[in-house]
């Protein structure tokens, strides 16, 4: 029932916002990206080793080890929540994956007869399709993450608990469960499929580290989901004004549960990848990684108050942290300085954003 227009609308009083003051250019992500580029140039002149192939590969690999989890936590941060359990989740998923893989590959273990048998030469061999054990064990690891994420989301969305407290508790629960199932020992991915596992997690394609490839794919998917789907729109709306989201009929509870599940599964996947690079899943793996992950997301422009953030910011945050770490190593600065510097950068990034938004 369109109403007739009396005259076409004019924008006499409302100009266009200039291009550098809107969209991407008007974000913390933009100037942190700019700072990163400057830093890269400085590093290039400061150290001849920085842009060598080996070092760049190393940096790419290292930041990929937290960046996937940072993508996940960015979803949660955009809704105005937080997930402190990502570090523990990385450990538990990695542990479950390697334990399932080892278990299914050991004749005599429950369920193993479906997957392996003892070959004529006395070695264990895969009984059916190669790679099946790998798929089952990775699904087991991700399934664990799904359950944990669901519990997080359910407590927060349905019972209305604070995200900080819920996930702080979950940090402890998940880490505890990791110690319980492993009895405090590390576990090692083993069996006929271990080769595939290492190839997929710590291998590379044409010199590009595998984790980096996963990161780029996931970030691209995330960008599309956030900006071009209803779900993404609702995630932003939830962070912008939760009451408005509720009133306009957005399924707030469902969206909240979904973001915590996504976050936990991203952390789980990250843990599985890291364990492939480490060659094992020790029970103290990824301890306090949640702080690095959240720090990276926040440096990259995700706003803890909700409503702002994106995949590019999460990755830029991770790269910035890693380049600085790498730079300090190349400059032969005592590595204990790293942590202090990371803290300074977090505060600096948020401070600059505050000053900038005051000036506008």
């Amino acid at each position: 029932m369109a109403l007739p227009m009396e005259s076409p609308i004019s924008f006499a009083n409302v100009g266009h916002v200039r291009w550098w003051r809107r969209g991407f250019f008007n974000s913390q992500t933009a100037y942190v990206t700019f700072a990163l580029l400057v830093l890269l140039v400085v590093m290039h002149f400061a150290s001849p080793y920085f842009f060598t192939e080996g070092n760049v590969q190393n940096v790419a690999k290292n930041f990929s080890f937290i960046a996937i989890a940072a993508l996940g936590v960015t979803f949660v941060i955009i809704t105005g929540g937080i997930d402190l359990s990502v570090g523990s989740m990385m450990c538990l998923s990695a542990m479950v994956t390697s334990m399932v893989m080892t278990g299914l590959s050991t004749p005599g273990m429950p369920g193993a007869s479906l997957f392996v048998h003892i070959a004529a030469d006395g070695k264990t061999a895969a009984a059916n399709v190669p790679g099946l054990i790998l798929i089952v064990s990775v699904l087991a690891g991700l399934g664990t993450a799904l359950v944990v994420g669901f519990v997080n989301g359910f407590c927060i969305a349905v019972f209305g608990l604070s995200p900080f407290v819920t996930t702080l508790g979950m940090l402890s629960i998940v880490r505890g469960l990791g110690y319980v199932i492993s009895n405090g020992r590390g576990s090692f991915p083993g069996g006929p499929d271990a080769g595939y596992f290492y190839a997929l997690t710590s291998g590379d394609v044409l010199g590009i580290p595998a984790p980096f490839i996963y990161l780029v794919i996931l970030a691209a998917v995330m960008a599309v989901v956030l900006h071009h789907t209803t779900f993404g729109r609702h995630v932003f709306a939830l962070g912008g004004n939760e009451k408005a989201a509720e009133l306009t009929g957005i399924p707030v509870v469902r969206v909240k549960i979904e973001v915590y599940v996504i976050c936990a599964m991203a952390a789980g996947l990250q843990g599985i990848i890291v364990s492939g690079w480490l060659g094992s899943a020790p029970a103290n793996m990824a301890t306090s990684y949640e702080l690095n992950v959240i720090a990276a997301a926040v440096i990259g422009g995700a706003n803890l108050a909700g409503g702002i953030g994106g995949p590019l910011g999460a990755i830029v945050g991770c790269v910035l942290l890693e380049v600085i770490r790498n730079g300090l190593v190349l400059a032969q600065v005592n590595s204990y300085w790293q942590q202090a510097l990371v803290g300074v950068i977090i505060i600096l990034a948020v401070l600059v954003d505050r000053i900038r938004s005051r000036m506008m």
Binding site: R233, G239, N241, K243, A244, L247
Partner: protein, 254 residues
């Protein structure tokens, strides 16, 4: 002016609606009928029960007593979405906007237009921006669909909130203080919009403190005091002085 009796079936009919919050009786024995194409002003001092009544009709919470009939059928709203599904749109006083999203995104919040590519559904940004611009044009508001609500003036924000009610085929639009925070020129625009809704046969319930606005657009005024209806009369049979007296309690009932 629509004659209430001649308009036939009321679009909304409340009988004996009451609401208790613990020991507090916020609303008691409210009977109201609203007919299609009628503009009803709901007036009362702070704490008179206006907001409670609006929230009950909008489905924010259920009444403790009484019955709501919409187009002749008894309805029970559990959530705001239920009320919207039958054709009740609300412009909330705080506007219920997400600051971090664009005007177009806010207009379509919760009912985004989508395009499908195989099994995937993506937002149809272009169609939403075009429709939003059309709606802002109808409201005569200089609001660009792609601008963030964060950067908008009070009037533009109001336009975004009102544009939202125009998306669906609403039968009853409730406006909670739509003219409280905007400029004189924009008040004119909102009032002319109310006239247009009325021409379309949409019933409007205007909750306002501003006496001139109510007398400019309403067919009927309902006055509430201390959770009860104190007066319900055609605007031509009353005066601002009388309504003020009824609101303050200087005059007990009409």
């Amino acid at each position: 002016m629509v004659d209430a009796a001649a308009a036939g079936q009321p679009v909304l009919e409340l009988t004996g609606i009451g609401k208790d919050f613990g020991a507090i009786r916020a609303l008691h024995g409210m009977d109201i009928q609203i007919f299609p194409g009628e503009v009803v002003g709901l007036m009362g001092d702070n704490g008179a029960g206006k907001s409670t009544l609006v929230k009950i009709i909008a489905g924010n919470f259920a009444p403790s007593h009484g019955e709501i009939r919409f187009e002749g059928k008894t309805v029970h709203f559990h959530r705001p979405v239920d009320a919207r599904a039958v054709g009740i749109e609300v412009v909330y006083q705080d506007l219920a906007l997400a600051d971090n999203l664009t005007a177009a995104a806010n207009v379509f919040l919760g009912r985004e237009l989508q395009r499908s590519f195989g099994p995937f559904h993506f937002l149809d940004h272009k169609a939403m921006a075009a429709r939003a611009l059309e709606l802002f044009g109808e409201l005569r508001s200089e609001t660009r669909p792609q601008h963030l609500v964060k950067q908008m003036s009070g009037g533009q924000r109001q336009a975004v909130a009102i544009a939202r009610t125009r998306l669906s085929n609403a039968k009853l639009v409730m406006m909670d203080e739509p003219t409280a925070a905007i400029s004189v020129r924009q008040v004119e625009q909102v009032l002319s919009l109310i006239h247009r809704l009325k021409e379309q046969g949409v019933a409007v319930m205007l909750i306002s403190h501003r006496m001139p606005d109510v007398f400019a657009v309403c067919d009927r005024v309902v006055v509430m005091r201390r959770g009860e209806k104190k007066a319900d009369r055609p605007i031509r049979d009353t005066s601002p002085e009388e309504v003020t007296a009824l609101i303050t309690g200087a005059k007990e009932t009409a």
